[in-house]
Subunit: 356 residues, 2 copies
DNA sequence: CTGTTAGCGCGTTCAC
DNA sequence: GTGAACGCGCTAACAG
């Protein structure tokens, strides 16, 4: 089947132009439509192209010549499967695709898994968006900036040379924590997102602040600490229900058992709710559970999860728009988003009838 | 912040070579590592590069010269958000990324939404994978083939010039239908995936066979007809729980009410289960529900859905591997996958105690 | 409206 | 192990 594809000599613009009896530049204009070409000439060029089986200008050559490839790289830290499993990432990507797509760009999916930065250097793209950033993005950023590419980072520490899309992770987490405190909770535990690229399921280490490279996880932890100077917790292996279940078991086996669990994502929260169910705890009487993200309710059914709703798609749109602006040589407007506390039915006042 | 990125003249390989006191070709070899260069020379070149702030060879130029950009296009029909919402697509993409990524390729996300084929012609890529194909892919395929790009299609009709990854949709659907018939069901209704790119929620038209452009939907419908020559149904607006709920309400309001519903995806099946719940029906006594796909159980909780489990990730791997082979000029091994019936607890024998 | 003239930045022959 | 030359396929100026 690959005959046509493999067959050596594809026709070139020059060949088409010759057959049509026009110059190469005229033929080029006939295809790009970006210049004044008479209808008759265009016809002739197109006819010649069809006759020769010419499929239009080679994008690679056009990219070189124009200095633009129309491609925006989206760099994720995880494997793609992990990234896609989180509805937040998907919503964000969708926002990016919306904005960038409208501007005629396509998205190139890249991962920096395992320190493999080679793709960042060799992939043809005009700009890059870093998502799910760690605080150790410096190396990636350096590579990209060295190539002269505009870089947009979502939820990252402010950094020179990078346009950052912010989210008030710390403030929002603190707000959630205050909600729990106002309900009388004293012993809260956190189920955290991975602190580092590939950390295993484990109790939250005391020195989390210095050991966390995930900006998002770190800020959310700080937010909790702003309200509860002391808290226990566990670290999950990813933002999945299973990871939440595992970590949930961990925190529920602490003694004294916490009366509330702050999960750093809704997926994790669902896992915690499952763990609670396993342990025969009733929600919210025996245990309050707080999530983060605000994923679609159908996924957290049958619960009505108390959570911090973040505008994920808007974040993506902002990132996409920022890239478009940067590519146009303009300075994008600063963009920072805020989360909103949704009080559902998984948090309630602390009760006294606790078994040990 | 965009100073560095925007600042006009980026250093070129030639400049680096000059500073290092070597020829451009030597400098090129020093970077690509694909030729004999003495360690000392390489050092000098790298030092010069660092001094000049040179970020390595420009991928666009390299792509033109080599005739390869290292990019594989993944073409989806929907908006990205819709595509990502279905775990099957995600699993498949993951498989593709695995194989293609291992071969050093990155994935370029493309959509052919709204007949916008322009991206297919202008995106720099070495090959394309078509997923979620309609029977109307001919136009897209033609464009791609004209460019000389190898094309792999997942679950599409066999077509010259396209390497197809198959799935036994028809046989599997028939197997599921037979399962229902063996349980005594006579009146079954289908909740179908969209028959065409943007069809609304509606009763299944009698002439579905001629009006369906989605290859997958069509084959699955045929499989059902192989067992139940007559059946009713509804068409959903997408592969989502909400769409399933809506379509589910439709089929449950048919009279006489079907005793079993065959959903064309698990997400749709979950929607149908919700609709059944709404209607106060108990599963599987009042209604049997059959899904398709075999998404992770946690998503169909608390039910144990009877469904046809398909090897989505394997499909993706096969597609990725096929692309890699085609790019290497080899003929890929034919790849066709089969689904397996998982009998859960959402299907059961038909009972006589049916209210109208 | 159309043709001419130059490259875009690099990888690859070849010789030496 | 290294250098010289050439051209990948196209497009942006300008001139006519």
């Amino acid at each position: 089947m690959s005959d046509t594809a493999t067959s050596g000599a594809r026709p070139t613009l020059a060949a088409v132009a010759e057959l049509a009896g026009v110059s190469a530049s005229t033929a080029s204009l006939a295809f790009s439509g970006s210049g004044p070409v008479s209808a008759a000439t265009r016809e002739r060029v197109l006819a010649a192209a069809e006759q020769l089986g010419y499929g239009g200008p080679d994008p690679r050559a056009a990219a070189l010549r124009r200095g633009r490839s129309g491609v925006v790289g989206v760099v994720m830290e995880d494997r793609l499967a992990d990234a896609f499993r989180d509805p937040m990432n998907v919503a964000m990507l969708d926002g990016v695709a919306d904005e960038a797509g409208a501007a005629g760009a396509s998205l190139l999916l890249l991962t920096e898994s395992g320190g493999e930065l080679s793709h960042l250097t060799s992939a043809p793209m005009d700009a890059a968006i870093l998502v799910g950033c760690s605080t150790r993005i410096d190396e990636s950023v350096d590579r990209l900036r060295l190539r002269g590419l505009p870089v947009v980072a979502v939820e990252a520490e402010e950094r020179a040379g990078v346009f950052t899309i912010g989210l008030d992770n710390r403030r929002a987490s603190a707000e959630g924590a205050r909600h729990l405190r106002s309900l009388g909770h004293e012993r809260v535990a956190v189920v955290a997102l991975p602190l580092q690229p590939s950390s295993g399921s484990a109790p939250l280490p005391a020195d989390w602040e210095t050991r966390t490279t995930s900006h998002t996880a770190l800020e959310r932890l700080r937010g909790v600490r702003d309200v509860y100077p002391e808290f226990d917790g566990a670290v999950a292996t990813g933002s999945t229900v299973d990871a939440g279940l595992e970590a949930g078991r961990l925190v529920l086996s602490l003694s004294p058992r916490p009366t509330a669990v702050i999960a750093q994502s809704d997926l994790l929260a669902v896992g915690v709710l499952r763990a609670a169910e396993e342990a025969g705890l009733s929600i919210p009487d025996d245990l309050s559970v707080l999530g983060f993200d605000g994923i679609r309710p159908e996924l957290v059914r049958p619960w009505d999860l108390t959570t911090l709703v973040q505008p994920a798609q808007e974040k993506g749109r902002a990132a996409g728009a920022a890239v478009v602006r940067l590519l146009a040589g303009e300075e994008p407007a600063a963009a920072s988003f805020t989360c909103q506390l949704h009080v559902g039915r998984t948090t309630g006042p602390v009760t006294r009838s606790l078994p040990s």
